[in-house]
C-alpha cells in the first residue's frame, strides 16, 4: 500500500465524468507550466463554500439540504459553545478565531468524504482524485470519528469490535444512509441523538419490541425504558479532561493539543434528552472533555493577539450543560457482562452513574444525569 497520496491524479480520472470538467473549472488557478503561477488563486477544496461549492451546479438536490446538515453546520458544537459561554457574545471573545483554527476543521465538505481525507485528518486524496460515491469508512468516517464511534465500532479502542462490523461486515453507511447524512431531520435539530436515523428495531423488529419479544428480558422492561445499548454495549471510551489547550509553536501560530488520558467506563444514566428519536428513560452516558477552565487560555491569547484580554469568566454558564451525555456506543454485542442474567445488572451500582462518579468541579447539570435509585437485586 502506497499510503496517502496528496497530489497525484489518476489518468483514468481525467477521462471520467468529473475529470472531463477540467481542473481549473473547479479549482481555479491558471493553466500554465510555472508551478507558482499555476497555483495562484487556486481553491484547494472547491466543494466547501456554502455546503456544496461547485458541486451545486449538478447536484442541486443533495446540496440544497446538505448546506443545513449537521456534518456541514456543526450545530452541536455551536449550540454547546454558545450555551456555556452565555451571556458573553462571541464577538467579544476569541471564539470566532478559535472556531476557524480548530472547530471548523471538523465540518465536512462534499470533497471531505467523496474525494479526499477530511481536513481534520490533514487532507490528502483518497484515491488519486477518483470520486467515491460511497466514502471509504476507514479513511473518512474513521478519520473524524475514530476516537469514539468509529474507533470502538472497528475494535480499535481496546474493547471488542461491534458485532455488526465483526460478524455482519457492515460499514457505517449501511445504517447511516446518504439520505440521513445529507439531510438532517427534523429541521432545526441541534444534537445528533435527536436526528432521524436508523433504529435497531428496523432490523430487529421481533427481538426488540418489549411485550412482544421472544426474549424474556426484553418483555420484562417496558417500552421506552432502556436504550438497546444499555444491555448490548461493552465498555467504551471516554475523554476524561479538557482537550482544548492551546500551545504556541511559532509567533502568531496556535495549535490545539490533547492532554486527556483515556477513560474506559460503562455507565447507565438518566436520559434528559428524550425525543421521538431518543425516547428512552435510561441511556448509556459518556464523559465529555470539558472543564470550567478549558477555554481559559483564550483569554491570554486574546490579550496577546488583540491587545485586550477576553472575559475572565468565559465559560460563565458552565453549570447549564452536563459533562456526562447521551452516548451512541458502537461496541454492540449480543451477549455482554450486564445481560448475562437479571442480577448481572440489577444491584450492580458500579454500572450506573451515581453522585460518587462526579468530580467536585463538574457542572451542576450532571446531577440530572445520575441514577438515584439503583434497581435492586432480584430475589427468587
Amino acid at each position: 500500500m502506497r499510503g496517502r497520496d496528496t497530489y497525484g491524479v489518476a489518468k483514468d480520472f481525467v477521462e471520467s465524468v468529473h475529470g472531463e470538467i477540467g481542473c481549473i473549472n473547479c479549482h481555479k488557478g491558471h493553466n500554465v507550466e510555472d508551478k507558482d503561477e499555476a497555483h495562484k488563486d487556486m481553491i484547494k477544496d472547491p466543494s466547501e463554500e456554502g455546503g456544496g461549492g461547485v458541486c451545486q451546479e449538478c447536484h442541486e438536490e443533495i446540496t440544497s439540504t446538505y448546506k443545513d446538515a449537521m456534518h456541514y453546520k456543526l450545530t452541536g458544537i455551536l449550540d454547546i459553545v454558545g450555551t456555556i459561554t452565555s451571556p458573553h457574545k462571541m464577538e467579544d471573545t476569541l471564539l470566532p478565531e478559535a472556531w476557524e483554527l480548530d472547530c471548523a476543521d471538523c465540518h465536512a465538505s462534499c470533497g471531505s468524504c467523496h474525494v479526499a481525507w477530511p481536513a481534520v485528518a490533514k487532507g490528502g486524496l483518497l484515491d488519486r482524485h477518483r470520486f467515491k460515491k460511497t466514502p471509504p469508512m476507514d479513511k473518512t468516517c474513521y478519520a473524524c470519528h475514530g476516537s469514539r464511534f468509529a474507533g470502538e465500532y472497528m475494535g480499535k479502542l481496546g474493547a471488542t469490535a461491534d458485532v455488526h462490523y465483526e460478524k455482519g461486515q457492515m460499514v457505517c453507511t449501511d445504517c447511516h444512509s446518504a439520505d440521513h447524512l445529507h439531510n438532517t431531520q427534523p429541521k432545526g435539530v441541534k444534537r445528533y441523538y435527536a436526528t432521524k436515523t436508523v433504529r435497531c428495531e428496523e432490523c430487529h423488529p421481533d427481538a426488540a419490541r418489549p411485550g412482544r419479544s421472544k426474549v424474556a428480558m426484553h418483555n420484562a422492561h417496558p417500552e421506552g425504558t432502556l436504550a438497546c445499548a444499555v444491555c448490548h454495549a461493552n465498555t467504551y471510551f471516554n475523554c476524561a479532561n479538557c482537550h482544548v489547550t492551546l500551545d504556541i509553536k511559532k509567533p502568531g501560530q496556535v495549535k490545539v493539543i490533547f492532554p486527556s488520558e483515556p477513560l474506559y467506563t460503562f455507565k447507565i444514566g438518566t436520559n434528559i434528552d428524550r425525543s421521538p428519536e431518543n425516547p428512552y428513560k435510561y441511556n448509556l452516558v459518556r464523559h465529555t472533555p470539558m472543564k470550567k477552565d478549558s477555554l481559559a487560555s483564550l483569554r491570554y491569547w486574546q490579550a496577546v493577539l488583540k491587545g485586550k484580554p477576553g472575559p475572565e469568566d468565559l465559560v460563565a454558564n458552565y453549570d447549564a450543560l452536563p459533562t456526562w451525555n447521551s452516548a451512541s456506543v458502537h461496541s454492540i454485542q449480543r451477549r455482554t457482562k450486564q445481560n448475562r442474567s437479571c442480577n448481572a445488572c440489577h444491584g450492580h451500582k458500579e454500572l450506573f452513574l451515581t453522585k460518587a462518579d462526579l468530580a467536585k468541579d463538574e457542572p451542576k447539570a450532571n446531577l440530572k444525569i445520575i441514577v438515584e435509585k439503583i434497581p435492586a437485586e432480584i430475589k427468587k
Partner: protein, 64 residues
C-alpha cells in the same frame, strides 16, 4: 419535386442534430484541455508522490 424537398428537409434535420449533439464530446475535451498543464503535471504520479505522500501520514480522529 416534392420528394426532393422532403429529402432536403431530412438531410437538414440530420445535419442540425449532428451539429447539436456532435459537439458534446469535443466540448468536454476542450474543458479538460483548458487544464492541460495541470493534468500533465498531476498525472505524473511518481513526481507527485515525491512531493508529499508521506507528508500527511497522521490522523486526528477527535470528533467522537
Amino acid at each position: 419535386m416534392k420528394r426532393k424537398t422532403q429529402g432536403m428537409l431530412i438531410a437538414t434535420t440530420f445535419l442540425g442534430l449532428a451539429l447539436a449533439f456532435g459537439t458534446a464530446g469535443p466540448l468536454a475535451a476542450q474543458e479538460a484541455d483548458s487544464s492541460s498543464a495541470c493534468i500533465d503535471c498531476h498525472t505524473d504520479l511518481e513526481e507527485m508522490d515525491s512531493y508529499g505522500a508521506a507528508s500527511a501520514s497522521g490522523g486526528a480522529a477527535i470528533a467522537g
